[in-house]
Subunit: 272 residues, 2 copies
Amino acid sequence: MQVRSGLLRNQGQKIVFVPTMGDLHEGHLSLMRKGREQGDCLVVSIFVNPTQFAPGEDLDTYPRNLDRDLDLSKKEGVDIVFAPSENDLYPEGFQTYIELEKLPKHLCGISRPTFFRGVATVVTKLFNIVRPHVAIFGQKDYQQLTVIRRLVRDLNLAVEIVGGPIVREPDGLAMSSRNKYLTSGQRAYALSLYQSLVKAQALLKSGTREASKIIGNVSGLFLSQPETTIDYIAVCDPETLDDMEVIDRPALMALAVKVGSTRLIDNMILSP
Amino acid sequence: MQVRSGLLRNQGQKIVFVPTMGDLHEGHLSLMRKGREQGDCLVVSIFVNPTQFAPGEDLDTYPRNLDRDLDLSKKEGVDIVFAPSENDLYPEGFQTYIELEKLPKHLCGISRPTFFRGVATVVTKLFNIVRPHVAIFGQKDYQQLTVIRRLVRDLNLAVEIVGGPIVREPDGLAMSSRNKYLTSGQRAYALSLYQSLVKAQALLKSGTREASKIIGNVSGLFLSQPETTIDYIAVCDPETLDDMEVIDRPALMALAVKVGSTRLIDNMILSP
């Protein structure tokens, strides 16, 4: 792949890259369509990255559908699918990781302390192999997008990072490979993530600017609901992810909620 | 620099890179001469990297001689000298570091636990900016060379790493910018580093293969000497840096010794 990228670059082709963990859904496909517009050669990677899963998380059960993913990629006009094996990316003796000091200490990084180390490491590796001019990441994983923008600047990687909007089911649930873990009852409960974001935006528009009041109010949606545990609900600066107390400028509202044993995330930029 | 490297690459030029902390001496110049042979465009960086110094180490007093370095580089036919400012490489908000899990837990990494994090980070950044085909590092910093070879493999960097032999003063002292910290008395004591390596090789050749015996024997050279403290003397696998008990194949002998307040290092591959 690295050699092929070098040849493409020498031919003057603009390489656009969409990294995924496979089990492609409409969210991924929207990133591919966005990617199609941005360059000449569209590369998609499919790799369930073990270093971003902690022991006890769902690495073994994470959905894998390579044949279906290849069909979908072909339909979207993907030029190259890069699907390395675990041993390709982490051969014996592997020991080098990318660590960020601050951004992973917020939001999902609190309950998943090694997650962003794994993400930052595999994305850097994939960038060095695929050598893209542009890479596209979904805004559903907002903190991931923030981490990647930061590491690209910090490590002087010559890649332009583009975010793609969250794609939702008709009722508002953010698309995720993990949605298929949900029972039909849990699927209904899961809707509260999106509803809480919509409610928060409405509260802000009607004049409630204190983050604590908004968070307190929307927490109520989950507390009364069976099988549901809040991991976090936060209102923070969209770049540093530092908590905001008063929403006097655009703020990221992000939340992680467990429904049954499935951990779901969602987010929205709230504008006063 | 990054744009210039891209243009040079597009023109088919082979870029060779020698990263330094400046205060160039014959050791650096030998790496430049080696570099000259390996490609078309020779780039030297001069940057005293703050992230590889711990508080209390000699960041502030480390010798800096940019004008002299530029003259010497010119004489060696260097095409580009890259001398970024601290703010160029570590702007406000910088927070991304490269960490290796195992190699820094040996030798110099024990008394300098954040040193290789700083080295790995700055070298990765410099590689991404200079975009060399080949990079040359001195074997005097043997552990550094090992760390860099490993991170290049682990992060899929497309750079060939070449080691250059240690350059010594006529009496055997390995060249180092830190030698100028030594008083004339200390300069004489410092010679024991090289003498201990020569003695170790002689002991091995005469049949002593147990690392502990060799280390015990050469330690005597330092224990009787004023102003001299051993940080470590180790015999280890040249790739993993794991301790070796019996020298039944080529082994790295490495040592760090403080003479006065100056910490000096040296090493040699011992062959049975």
